[in-house]
Symmetry: D2
Subunit: 396 residues, 4 copies
């Protein structure tokens, strides 16, 4: 018998040179399932950094481009069997939309770090660009790659905890407790600079994760926000901390909390959902457990892992190892890359099944717009704009 030989998808990357954080994370996540080969990149505006990174990654020097514009131009000219198929964008926020749009125009799929952009307006333009293409757009809402997040979504859909009433979603970090941007910390510098990060710091960086997680698991749209954002460091221009009361279209009330000055906290994204029949809790730092509470039954802990009891297919599909062999953040992102590869191979366009796409991006931008407006206002409630595209028309 003959079997067709597997060929990895050819990827390029913008950003992710030495000293960057998330680029190397993407490369490791891409590698886990053997679905991609990184063939080109523009890793840094610093030429040495760019060439060094390329060499370390085994990329030919002539495909280490000096700018993203050059990369797109040059790769488009290569023979089809050789040229990049998907562009991975791991730059500061303000470049996300310009590069994404140019890549789509040049005929490449895009997989982009979140947030989708720095304003709702530019992201809507990107959405139109995508709609007119036959290409895929994926957004690295990594936490939506965790198996137990899918399990939670399924249990909500199944009515396991009844009609939803309340959501508490929070994302405390502590790494900006001190004025890191005053020293030369690269991560801190761009994230606290409005020119690179957009109108929001903490809410754009991690509040969007909390927001997206809440909407994804609940499959409800948040319609009203009342927020109080702060910056706790003198001279810091963007919010490093905040919270919001919220309401969903279906009447769920909730609290969203995100902070980067919760000193000593690592990366404690968590969500709790309560319905009229039970409750549910998931914590990113113990991602393989999902706590399910009932009103007339003992607390249960569902556990990730191949063959584990009580898991839905979507959760099982996102596990590589038997229960008790911890999988983590890289594996969660690998799940997004896995599904994105599958969609590329299947010739899909728009949004890849299983991968947050442009709708998630639009929702995130609407969230950032509204929460910053709310924080600056004396009016209690602010309304999130609705959209024709929604996060809920697709698979995700």
């Amino acid at each position: 018998m003959r079997f067709e030989k597997h060929r990895p998808i050819r990827a390029g990357m913008i950003g992710g040179g030495e000293g960057a954080f998330i680029g190397a994370v993407h490369r490791r996540a891409m590698a886990i399932d053997g679905q991609y080969q990184l063939v080109c990149g523009a890793f840094s505006r610093n030429s040495d950094n760019n060439l060094l990174t390329a060499a370390q990654l085994g990329i030919d020097e002539h495909r280490a481009y000096s700018s993203w514009q050059q990369l797109l131009a040059a790769e488009a000219l290569l023979p089809e069997q050789e040229r990049m198929q998907v562009l991975i964008i791991v730059t500061p926020n303000q470049l996300h939309v310009p590069i994404s749009r140019a890549a789509l125009q040049a005929g490449f799929h895009v997989f982009c770090e979140k947030p989708a952009g720095v304003s709702l307006a530019e992201t809507q333009e990107l959405a139109q660009e995508l709609a007119q293409s036959h290409l895929l757009y994926g957004l690295a809402h990594t936490y939506l790659g965790y198996p137990m997040v899918w399990q939670a979504k399924q249990l909500i859909a199944d009515g396991a905890i009844g009609t939803l009433r309340k959501i508490i979603v929070e994302y405390p970090q502590g790494w900006l407790t001190q004025n890191l941007e005053a020293s030369a910390n690269k991560q801190a510098s761009w994230r606290t600079d409005p020119a690179q990060a957009g109108a929001s710091g903490c809410m754009a960086d991690i509040g969007t994760h909390a927001f997206g997680l809440a909407e994804f698991i609940s499959q409800q749209q948040i319609t009203h926000l009342c927020a109080d954002l702060t910056s706790h460091i003198t001279g810091r221009q963007l919010d490093d901390d905040g919270a919001a009361l919220f309401r969903t279209e279906q009447g769920v009330s909730g609290v969203l909390l995100a902070s980067q000055v919760c000193a000593g906290e690592e990366n404690a994204l968590s969500i709790r959902l309560y319905g009229d029949k039970g409750g549910m809790e998931w914590q990113q730092m113990e991602p393989n457990s999902l706590i399910v509470r009932g009103i007339n039954s003992p607390l249960q802990i569902l556990r990730a892992g191949k063959g584990q009891p009580g898991l839905c297919q979507a959760a099982l599909d996102r596990c590589r190892l038997p229960g008790g062999h911890p999988e983590g953040y890289l594996e969660a992102m690998a799940n997004l890359y896995h599904d994105f590869a599958k969609a590329i191979r299947a010739g899909a366009h728009g949004t890849a099944a299983g991968v947050p796409g442009i709708d998630a991006g639009l929702r995130g931008m609407a969230f950032i717009d509204t929460i910053t407006q709310s924080s600056n206002s004396e009016q209690k409630w602010h309304t999130l704009p609705k959209q024709l595209h929604t996060a809920f028309t697709g698979v995700i």
Copy 2:
């Protein structure tokens, strides 16, 4: 050598008959340190219940009074060595102030379940009454009796986590998830009845605990609130769920959350505080641990218990057993009773050192007033009234 024989303090109780919840809790908590003897009571308006409860408690039939008015009148006539010294009030909220005032007028110390009353106005009258007396008033904010709550307060005072920036305090319960008041559940009925509970359900019942805990540990006054309260059951007149953004006088921002419809949650009061040097976390359901986070040091868990390393005197004083022998809710309340007895013996008046008093009561009522106003308003921030008495002039 001769030693003076210990004589227990003679106590009376209003409320706490068969079928009540908190009365029996108080009786057990009083008993733990052997400082009290219950000598009289008006346990129930139902005569059989009243007499039965008295008999079960070993109280003479003639001191089982048919009403609180009768109790006060009759006890006042007894010889000094025999008559009640302190009155314990465990009735529904609307009777707290009337009985407290009458007891003070009749010359008895008062130890009252929280909240202090059903409005700030009546509680201020009570405060004046107390100020004119030479008697003590204690409020059963039981959670302030836990050793690790005192440890947390001390660490804040010592600057262990630096200048405070953020407080997250929450109190999720699930027991009102269903419409219990529709059945004959006594606890649910009065707590959801404005005539007995006052203007708020959940916030009066447990939100006050969260509020008091935050102010006690931080030793800061909350000045601004922005709240969203809800009732999730059709026909329920009082809030069963809610949250508020808040600010303190010193610029701390925070979130307060209380709910009785978080299905499956037991009694999950918790608090997290963050400063510019570290963070801290305490959970009532694991009360013997206090998590302390630093920005440049590993996480620590301080543990309650006699002789445990790192504890301040106030925490050690509130432990009866060596580490690893769990103490809980009854012991926390017993700590309040212990300190109240000490103050009675010392002839103190006003507030007993170590016991929440009238100032805590006033703060709690101001909180209830303000949070209900805020929830009904379209204006973002509402201001808590200040007061001459504060929770911070006394020891607690």
Copy 3:
């Protein structure tokens, strides 16, 4: 309607003066449910300590006896309505049997700290004494008072985890890590002195708890032991650490581990049991949770508390508070005292339902004898002597 007035049971105590540990614990545990009145004692051989303790406890000076012999003699002469009904023994181990026997001979019920004695032989004599009396004997295996221990026992009996195969029971403490007996630590001194503690230190003090817990929950008798005991401090005469492989009559294999030199451990008694259908885990330091594992179902955590789902009657009967209001060590011991009082009132003799009795004492002594023999032997397995009385003929 008239109700009979409750009268507390009159108790006396040997040991438990100032500076002692467990006496005060017993007094608090006795007090919680209001079933006892301490009327007399011989608290210390030091006269001042004895009188001081009595005075602090509100006991008349003439009932603060200078020796246990005097107490028994004098109390026996008092009128029936006045004299002590039950004697509580909280002395070092070597006095347990002599006092217990004398108390029974003088017509008093006995409630004794564990272990029952310092040898199996003397404990068997005590058993005979008890058999000939019409009195009750209770042993303070406090951990058997926890609700979730009863829940575990019930689940095993119900076959919830199938046929038992394996038990892992352990009791690590750290308080003897240093040579405390070299300083004047009273607790350390007698526990490491063969003349006061008997043939074993750690195994007599806490190994018996682990052994008793395993036999109680499993309702199986351990028949074979292979042990390795050690003393890690130069000059310490008794074991401070050890472990044993074991087998039960029904073929369960297991490990028992007890140590007082596990530096930093508090009081970490725990047990895990595995059958052919599931497993179970209970930890004394989180006593209100019972973890239940199935092979084809998600992990469950049963939680103590009034009205909690999934609990058997025996567990519910041992809870005083709703779920989430932690109960602990004092409440566990209070459960033993509660049931002992009930049995006294009911006129029972021998063993009180719900309270470990002489059979538990005999098993504990057989365990101490066998484990010390095994540790001194080059032979692999040692057999525990069977007995006519067993821990399993009674309720417990």
Copy 4:
């Protein structure tokens, strides 16, 4: 500036076809740091499976060999720049030594699943073979790749908990609770078959992990064992459960426990170590935390992650992500592969720094030999053979 382009190490694999477990795990672990390219394999004796697996992995059909012998022969003939450099062995145990020896003889580095072989004798022959080569041998004791295991080792070496006294190491699993080998479960079948697994089931499969972890962290050699192994399933020929008391050369006493019939347990490898100044605890299922207990200081939890406070260099080197982004089992194995690649590139031979090697293999086999002998004996203690090679001469 010019940078040398990174070239991945060319690897081959024996075993790991469709339906196997550990082969795919190795492939993912290899991929994470981009250090390897899988170029050939003999994945299955089933030809279709072999070819399918190769195709799925993007391996040329002509390098999908029908047997390991053929693979070695054919690869040896390829040009140096093309041929395999390292052979990865993921077969059942009985083939480990034969293939390892042949691979070394053919000039290939070996990275082998544990245990090293099925007897100490054959493993000693392998050790001699290796000694005479200029090649590297690595053993996939995956758990030794976790950062916090290295942190624990360093803390012991630094005397952070003083002179060691006690070790408790355990590895409970539940997956063989039922008679899986009676159905066609591939994993269960070979592991319970003496012809494929060797003299031991559970102890060879997972007991060796527990043993190796204890020796690695403590850097002490276990010299005495007293064991009780069992098979709980009728007809199962090899142990599925067992425990041993042990002693080390330096007088540490300990307990080792391994079981595959602890129903409901996942993969709960854990270790606790106690010295005269403190204790330490690590659990594989929460691998990013290391609990450190002191006798006069609060409990600390050290946490894995880039830049985390309190970590040694060896631990930091094994983290890819900041704290709070969970890394797990794949990343632990990836750490072994990472260090093995480094040693290959450095031209090292014998044992790769950071990777368990032949000495760990010999110790593991000595453990299996001794524990099975002990279990069949009535003599209490059995001695582990010493060896010239020890696990402690090398880096690991």
